[in-house]
């Protein structure tokens, strides 16, 4: 559901991956991480990228932001190729990566686009700090605030760029469970206020279900033996691709306890090679998503 931009922020732009592959050179030759990724992210969509660790989720995101280059294929934002450190996208890293000698407000101001006037920049930073609930901590240093606050600062810094595409690399992965839930709600609020295309890398199935319009599961292709589990089998296969694309039903904010999502969750975990444990006890699981009221 491409949302229409209502605020001062830049319009959301679509992102397109065409046959993207990435191999890293090692002593033993090139080691492919990604292979033949074809993906179209609609403007204004929240797309979650799920996958086991080391499958190239972050690499895909970094390629989309111009922090890394694909070895094959190409990535475009609104039809034009992604430049190095592309100015149309902003990235929220897994770690806050704040400059410790700057205040929270100054760190957020780092994200402002070049050429922003001082007054406009200050007003924008103040508004963003208000949005992420850190207005009263504007003059604090990063070491004086909690991890969740630092991550919110990092998010505000990415938003300060008024990005057409917001790239989030497991932004809440290092936070405690409750803070993570609050941050997810915050992200949805922000997306409602400033609609932008969001690519969210996560390893948390629930997070993906809660936030995303669509979920892409990245993994090695189930070619030779689909039941392969363990890293040994992963190493043998040449790079990860898209294994599954799931459209998450319903509209946000979603009920975290919904049975529909629980079923979808089970399927996604299954796709990630996690046993649902129901089958082990002989409990039949339905393969269709039950419709309300179940």
């Amino acid at each position: 559901m491409p949302a229409t931009p209502t605020s001062t922020s830049a319009a959301a732009l679509p992102v397109e991956f065409r046959g993207v592959g990435r191999a890293f050179p090692t002593a033993a030759g090139a080691r492919p991480v990604l292979r033949d990724v074809d993906l179209v992210v609609e403007a204004g969509e929240i797309l979650a990228i799920l996958g086991p660790s080391g499958c190239g989720k972050s690499t895909l995101l970094r390629i989309a932001g111009g922090l890394d280059r694909p070895t094959s294929g190409r990535v475009t934002i609104a039809g034009s190729p992604v430049a190095d450190y592309d100015a149309r996208s902003a990235i929220g890293f897994q770690e806050p990566r704040l400059l410790p000698w700057r205040t929270v407000a100054q760190n957020v101001a780092l994200g402002l686009p070049r050429g922003t006037t001082r007054a406009a920049g200050r007003a924008h930073v103040a508004r963003l700090l208000e949005l992420v609930g850190l207005a009263e901590f504007a003059e604090h240093r990063p070491r004086e605030i909690s991890g969740g606050m630092a991550q919110r600062t990092s998010l505000a810094r990415a938003l300060a760029r008024s990005p057409h595409v917001l790239l989030l690399d497991e932004p809440f992965g290092a936070l405690d469970a409750l803070t993570r839930l609050r941050m997810q709600d915050l992200l949805l609020e922000i997306h409602a206020a400033e609609p932008t295309t969001v690519l969210l890398v996560t390893h948390d199935v629930d997070e993906a279900l809660q936030l995303a319009d669509r979920i892409v599961v990245l993994g090695t292709q189930p070619s030779a033996d689909a039941s392969a589990d363990g890293p040994a089998a992963e190493d043998a296969t040449p790079g990860a691709g898209i294994r599954q694309t799931v459209v998450v039903p319903g509209t946000r904010p979603r009920d975290r306890g919904s049975a529909e999502l629980a079923e979808l969750r089970g399927r996604l975990l299954d796709g990630l090679g996690i046993d649902r444990h129901g089958a082990a006890r002989g409990i039949q699981s339905t393969s269709t998503i039950p419709a309300f009221p179940y």
């Binding site: 400059l99 410790p100 000698w101 994200g111």
Partner: protein, 340 residues
């Protein structure tokens, strides 16, 4: 619970079971305890608030992550853990000062005893009084002030030149791969030359003037700054650099916004090291060829057998070096607080 709970120490004995009552009694005590134990007592108050009418109010209080709001809440301890841990003796300022002065005082007393008891001949170990008299004598002739001034000037000029060059060359080597490849092997070799080996060459080239001494001190100050600055700039956190680049910083702006500030604490400690090194090189410079300064005083007194003046010069070098180091140390603490 009795009224004896008016001191921070006594509060530790409060029974957790009667924690609520203890809070009432303790409230008077909290106002009387000093600032140092204020925060822990406030923590105790927090614990009461959470444990008393447990549920919503306690949780709300926890969520208010601002410690100031917690301290305005109920005051008073619960349980044995709520006692105010006092600031340890070794963390107190007066103890640091007194502790640092202890060994010099002991040495002074031992020196006095050894020299006046006749255990060591005065020609080998003059008494503290003799050294003091020698200092007063030199001061009265206007020489002591002159020597200190000229030596300090040489140190500061040489240090300024050497440190500035060290910053520039260190930045080139630390930031540019090419600079590293071209310069660092040569500079590494030059650094290996002992300080005294420069002296004959500098005297031939620059004659026995101020220049030769200042250049030698500059060489001494250059290398610590160069080495540390180059390493600090080379090892700026890659994640911060990438974040800076991802937000559109490059070239000079990346340098001024991310790389230089990240290196500031290292630069300051490099300057501190360089200043200490400058004092070491000062004596090397003045030992060989000079007519003024503390190094000259050392040589001259050695030739004349004035052991009291040798002691004086050594003590002055120690005190001056320590004083300048302390000043830079204050600056370093400020810089670390501001930039790290």
């Amino acid at each position: 619970m009795t009224a004896d709970a008016s001191r921070g120490d006594a509060l530790t004995s409060t029974d957790p079971g009667t924690g609520r009552a203890g809070a009432e009694d303790g409230r008077a005590g909290v106002t009387s305890v000093d600032r140092q134990s204020n925060a822990p007592v406030a923590d105790g108050g927090l614990a009461v608030a959470a444990a008393g009418p447990f549920g919503v109010s306690g949780i709300d209080r926890r969520e208010a992550s601002d410690p100031r709001t917690a301290s305005t809440g109920g005051a008073g301890p619960t349980g044995p853990s709520a006692g105010a841990p006092r600031r340890r003796l070794v963390d107190r300022r007066w103890f640091r000062v007194a502790g640092g002065a202890l060994l010099p005082l002991v040495l002074l007393v031992a020196w006095q005893l050894a020299s006046t008891s006749g255990a060591v001949p005065v020609s080998m170990l003059p008494s503290p009084e003799m050294v003091w008299t020698a200092g007063v004598d030199l001061a009265e002739r206007g020489l002591l002030g002159l020597y200190i001034a000229i030596s300090t000037q040489r140190v500061f000029v040489g240090f300024a030149v050497g440190a500035a060059l060290g910053l520039v060359v260190g930045a080139v080597v630390g930031l540019s791969k090419l600079g590293d490849i071209l310069l660092s092997p040569t500079l590494g070799a030059i650094r290996a030359v002992p300080s005294l080996a420069w002296v004959p060459l500098l005297i031939l080239w620059l004659k026995i003037g101020e220049e030769s001494k200042v250049v030698l001190i500059a060489i001494g100050a250059f290398f610590p700054v160069y080495t540390i600055v180059a390493a600090a700039l080379r090892h700026v956190d890659r994640q911060l650099l990438e974040a800076g680049r991802a937000f559109g910083l490059r070239g000079v702006r990346l340098l001024s916004v991310v790389q230089l500030p990240a290196a500031v604490p290292s630069v300051v400690s490099a300057l501190r090291l360089a200043l200490a090194q400058s004092w070491l090189f000062l004596v090397a410079a003045e030992l060989i060829a000079s007519s003024m300064g503390l190094g000259f005083l050392l040589v001259d007194s050695g030739n004349n057998g004035r052991i009291d003046r040798i002691f004086l010069a050594i003590i002055l070098l120690a005190v001056l070096g320590k004083l300048t180091d302390a000043v830079v140390g204050l600056f370093e603490r400020w810089a670390v607080r501001k930039w790290a």
